[in-house]
């Protein structure tokens, strides 16, 4: 459907990003957690402008940062919705009805996998195994994992998010 506008850096967000990135020098092994927190500040994305700020604080050049972020599935350089809805498509979910659940979600959100809703609230993606295999099918919405889904439960859940009943 539609593509979100590129994330725009403001003085405030830049200060927040710098503050996070500063933590790198003392604990370089925490780079992933730092970048993931920064991503949350930036509309669930990690675009070039943000990489430049992080580069200045960490000393890691932009090309190397991009090598790192483009490798990991959880980091995106294009903006995504406020809620990232991730449907697991791995085998245990697949054979217990993931396709039907996804159909229901696509129907409720009125977008297909890979797209973002026009109001910029929801991005729908497939993902690989969420580790909820004994309770499949499962989805992850931002940091919340929902399992034992049926098409009905899934569309009900999405509707709660749409209504704003879930923070």
């Amino acid at each position: 459907m539609s593509k979100k506008q590129d994330f725009v850096l403001t003085a405030e967000t830049q200060a927040q990003i710098s503050a996070e990135a500063k933590k790198y020098k003392e604990a370089p092994w925490q780079l992933m957690r730092i970048l993931l927190r920064i991503q949350k500040i930036c509309e669930n994305s990690f675009p070039r402008d943000v990489a430049v700020v992080v580069s200045q604080e960490t000393g890691i050049d932009v090309a190397t940062l991009y090598s790192y972020t483009s490798f990991y599935a959880m980091i995106s350089d294009v903006p995504r919705g406020k809620y990232i809805v991730r449907m697991c498509e791995s085998a245990p979910c697949h054979i217990t009805g993931a396709r039907d659940v996804m159909d229901a979600i696509e129907y409720t959100l009125k977008i297909k996998a890979g797209e973002t809703t026009p109001d910029g609230l929801f991005t729908l993606e497939y993902c690989q195994c969420l580790g909820m295999c004994e309770k499949s099918p499962a989805i992850m919405i931002n940091d919340q994992v929902y399992s034992d889904l049926t098409p009905g439960k899934a569309s009900g859940l999405i509707e709660e998010y749409i209504r704003g009943d879930i923070a």
């Binding site: 604990a27 370089p28 092994w29 925490q30 780079l31 992933m32 957690r33 970048l35 993931l36 890691i60 090598s67 790192y68 490798f71 990991y72 599935a73 959880m74 980091i75 498509e89 791995s90 085998a91 245990p92 697949h94 054979i95 217990t96 993902c127 690989q128 195994c129 969420l130 580790g131 909820m132 295999c133 004994e134 309770k135 499949s136 992850m140 940091d143 919340q144 994992v145």
Partner: protein, 420 residues
């Protein structure tokens, strides 16, 4: 058929304690193993673990005592213990169960291992897809520190050890130990050539021992009750228990702990057989790069060596039941999709091979296959097995190869249907 009862060693505290509370854990006998270990020499600790026969539970099955012994003998100013909590294998979520119900058993296991090799720092590499575990483990770590079970001078022994929680970013390949190390160091999760081995040159170039969550969870019990006690459980050569993740179309799903060597058929029937009374088509065992076996191959002892002897694999303990609803080729295609996503892209055979396998199977599935395709699949699998850089590429084709062997008719039928 035997109705099985669980043997809970790893899951001994599940449901009995507040997972975050170190005092709850202590009250159940936790940290007794560590306390005993600190009164032994590191060499004695390693001997106890070796005597137990414990082998890695992450899929490789390497003897844990031997792994510790190698690193203990390397001279270095710093060593590391890493807990591999990057459980990404579809059909496996046992580590999530362990960490969410009893993280202290993992901390204690890490501390004992650290003492054994002379490490003072540990990392838990936790996959991003377990977001609720981050605050839980951070809280559990802080409580353990507050009670003195982690940090400086534990039990007044002079031994200091602390653990930091680091995150993955959505890459199954980071479950491979050298890729995991690369990821912590701030790099792409690309596996490294061996030698050098992480035991000698790992994280930041220092001796590093990487263990799976389940492996670590066993260590406190081994030190507390003795290696000999542990060695009597399970099978000789493959001792202790195994956590099995039952998923797919089985009536009762979940994570269950049985002794090594328990029969697959017994597990299957204890947990209700196929859901909704459908027929059993087969089972995917081991994990995603596990084996697809058919319904005549269910008489299988589930331990590392017995599985290997019967051309099967124990892997991470996945038991994914497939009923007769699904087209098997579609399942194999789905499995290959996973590997296409998760290949790191570094080496030719894996980067190219997974896609080409998927391509061929897809074509067969949609009626565009030829009999020569089956030969090509075998050849490609052989090339991947022989030349891939890491265990991902060396194993990703097993679902294809085993299904070719155990479900050959499904392939042939699809090809013939397409040619009509």
């Amino acid at each position: 058929m035997t109705m099985l009862k669980e043997t809970r060693i790893v899951l001994r505290n599940m449901g009995k304690i507040d997972p975050v509370s170190a005092t709850d854990y202590r009250a159940q006998g936790g940290y007794a193993g560590l306390q005993k270990a600190l009164k032994m020499t590191p060499g004695e600790v390693i001997a106890e673990i070796s005597a137990s026969g414990l082998r890695g539970r992450g899929g490789a099955g390497f003897p844990t005592g031997k792994k510790l012994d190698i690193s203990s003998k390397v001279e270095a100013d710093q060593k590391y213990i890493i807990c591999n909590a990057d459980e990404g294998e579809p059909g496996t979520n046992k580590d999530r169960i362990i960490l969410s119900s009893d993280p202290n058993t993992v901390f204690e296991g890490m501390a004992i291992n650290a003492y054994a090799i002379g490490a003072s720092r540990g990392f838990i590499y936790l996959r991003y897809e377990y977001p609720s575990l981050f605050p839980l483990i951070e809280a559990a770590l802080q409580n353990a520190r507050n009670e003195g079970f982690l940090g400086e001078n534990i039990f007044g022994s002079g031994f200091s050890f602390d653990i930091e929680l680091v995150s993955g970013g959505g890459a199954y390949v980071c479950g491979e130990e050298t890729a995991l190390i690369s990821s912590i160091e701030g790099g792409r999760g690309e596996p490294r050539s061996k030698p050098p081995y992480p035991g000698a040159q790992g994280l930041y170039g220092k001796p590093t021992v990487v263990n799976n969550v389940e492996t670590l969870a066993n260590i406190p019990v081994i030190l507390d009750k003795g290696g000999e006690y542990f060695s009597k459980i399970g099978e000789p050569g493959c001792t202790g228990t195994k956590l099995f993740t039952l998923c797919g179309k089985i009536t009762e799903r979940g994570v269950f702990e049985y002794p090594m060597g328990t029969n697959l058929m017994d597990i299957f029937e204890t947990h209700g057989g196929v859901k909704d009374g459908r027929d059993l088509k087969g089972v995917m065992i081991g994990g995603q790069s596990g084996y697809l076996i058919n319904n005549t191959q269910m008489d299988l002892k589930m331990d590392i060596d017995s599985c290997r002897r019967k051309d099967a694999t124990l892997g991470t303990g996945t038991i994914m039941v497939i009923d007769d609803y699904y087209n098997l080729l579609e399942i194999v295609e789905n499995i290959m999709t996973f590997f296409i996503h998760e290949s790191c892209g570094k080496c030719t055979p894996c980067r190219e091979g997974n896609v080409r396998m998927h391509e061929i199977i897809h074509n067969i599935n949609v009626g565009k296959g030829k009999m020569e395709d089956l030969e090509l699949l075998e050849e490609l699998a052989e090339t991947m097995k022989l030349t891939a850089l890491c265990a991902l590429g060396q194993n990703s084709f097993y679902p294809v190869i085993t299904s070719l062997k155990n479900f050959r008719y499904d392939y042939v039928r699809a090809i013939e249907r397409g040619q009509r």
